[in-house]
């Protein structure tokens, strides 16, 4: 596979693009796409609100996002913000470290300290450096555990 970088100084930063030209969607290409997506989304800053203040959060500051009471709550270790996007919209743009844990919540797996499994109900998720908890429903628990295992093996 050839790698070519074209530099065009007439382009603005938001006009920059990465094109992968390939004959078929192989595993190698998919991995490449995933890596590029990770780099792009790691630069993302999420626009959130606290009363009348607008803030820009880095994804790594976020513990989990949850919809409740018709608004989207963005939890950091010490605070709660609201965001104007919908949960599924954020799920698409956030880095792959963000995993859905229920119909109404997405969690940042890099912040997870422990998962307390519960056979009869939602499993309790604890985070590093905070007393906040999130709950993973049984339908999404397997996916979450797989992602945590992937993360562990990658390290």
């Amino acid at each position: 596979m050839k790698i070519r970088v074209e530099i065009d100084d007439r382009l603005n930063e938001d006009e920059e693009e990465v094109v992968i030209r390939c004959s078929s969607l192989s595993e190698e290409v998919m991995m490449l796409q995933k890596q590029v997506s990770e780099i792009v989304s790691s630069k993302l800053k999420l626009e959130v609100f606290k009363q009348d203040t607008v803030l820009y959060l880095k994804p790594e500051e976020i513990l989990f996002l949850e919809t409740a009471d018709n608004f989207l709550a963005v939890h950091t270790a010490k605070d709660i913000f609201s965001a104007k996007q919908r949960l599924y919209e954020l799920e698409e743009i956030l880095p792959s470290a963000f995993v859905r844990i229920s119909k109404s919540a997405i969690v940042n797996i890099t912040k997870i300290r422990s998962v307390k499994r519960n056979i009869t109900g939602p499993s309790e998720i604890e985070f590093e450096g905070t007393i906040k908890r999130a709950y993973a429903s049984r339908n999404y628990l397997k996916q979450l555990m797989n992602r945590l295992e992937e993360k562990r093996l990658n390290k």
Binding site: F49, K50, Q51, D52, E66, A68, D69, N70, F71, L72, A73, A77, K78, I80, S82, A83, K84, S102, S104, G121, P122, T130, I131, K132, R133, Y135
Partner: protein, 286 residues
């Protein structure tokens, strides 16, 4: 009371089941009056389990066992009065061994607040420490945060200049001074937004209820927090810059506190009254 309604519902279902069973010939020899009293007994047993009252558990149980099973010859040698007497003695024994009195923590004359380690921080003698009290993990301290920095000064939905926040910013409405949260089954998450919170009442049956004191300014005279939990789990997140006192009535469940509340005597007080049956109530400061 959601939990009581659920218990009444279960009792009525038991009664309906008994009547259907009788009609279908499964339990033909039991009179209707016994089936009705059996349904009432189920409600009493559930209530007894919630409040850890051994008399309410064992007496109706003895009634059901004696009246129902004697028809099948199991308890035929024990009469109803004898069965109730045995149950009363057993309940008295269990109450002596395991019974719990209604616990008051930091109430009445001994007003104060919780210390970082969960011990008494007020004037006067300390109250009885409650079960599970102060057993939580460290959490974030509230000492670096003052109330003024976090005070909710402007009207919700408006900026500090009085201009409305643009549409689509997802800013929630003010919940008002008194908030009632009612959850039966399933998961319910509520973010409280109030500029003058006076009372929060949480009634949870079997579900998982999570409440955040998000953008909340507690009334200067303090705020009440009433939690009535049956068999489910209630998690309440309170900012660490409020004082907190608690009165608890715990049955077979657990009440846990995580993190630290404010030690500032001028900070508004959240006065909690927690009635927990067989579930779990967690209070988080952070």
């Amino acid at each position: 009371m959601k939990a009581r309604r659920i218990m009444l519902g279960i009792g009525l279902l038991a009664l309906a089941g008994g009547l259907v069973g009788r009609k279908m010939g499964i339990i033909p020899s039991i009179p209707i009056s016994t089936i009705i009293l059996g349904g009432i007994s189920v409600v009493l047993i559930m209530d007894g389990l919630r409040h850890k009252n051994f008399f309410l558990i064992l007496m109706p149980l003895a009634f059901i066992a004696q009246r129902v099973y004697s028809y099948w010859g199991v308890f035929s040698s024990i009469g109803l009065v004898e069965a109730l007497g045995i149950a009363a003695i057993a309940a008295a024994g269990l109450t002596v061994l395991f019974g719990n009195k209604k616990k008051k923590i930091m109430a009445g004359k001994n007003r104060g607040y919780i210390n970082n380690n969960g011990s008494w921080g007020g004037n006067g003698a300390p109250g009885q420490p409650g079960r599970g009290f102060g057993g939580g993990a460290g959490g974030q301290g509230g000492n670096g945060t003052t109330l003024d920095q976090n005070r909710f000064v402007q009207q919700p939905g408006f900026t500090g200049n009085g201009e409305p926040i643009p549409e689509g910013y997802g800013y929630p409405d003010d919940d008002g001074d008194n908030v009632v949260i009612d959850n039966g089954f399933g998961k319910l998450t509520r973010y409280l937004h109030s500029s003058n919170l006076k009372k929060v009442k949480i009634d949870n049956g079997f579900g998982n209820c999570i409440v955040y004191y998000d953008n909340v300014y507690v009334d200067k005279d303090g705020s009440k927090l009433e939690i009535d939990n049956g068999f489910g789990q209630v998690d309440v997140y309170i900012p660490p810059f409020y004082r907190f006192k608690m009165k608890q009535d715990n049955g077979f469940g657990s009440i846990n506190i995580f993190g630290n509340c404010s030690l500032d005597p001028d900070a508004p007080l959240i006065d909690a009254d927690i009635d927990n049956g067989m579930g779990k109530v967690n209070i988080y400061f952070g």
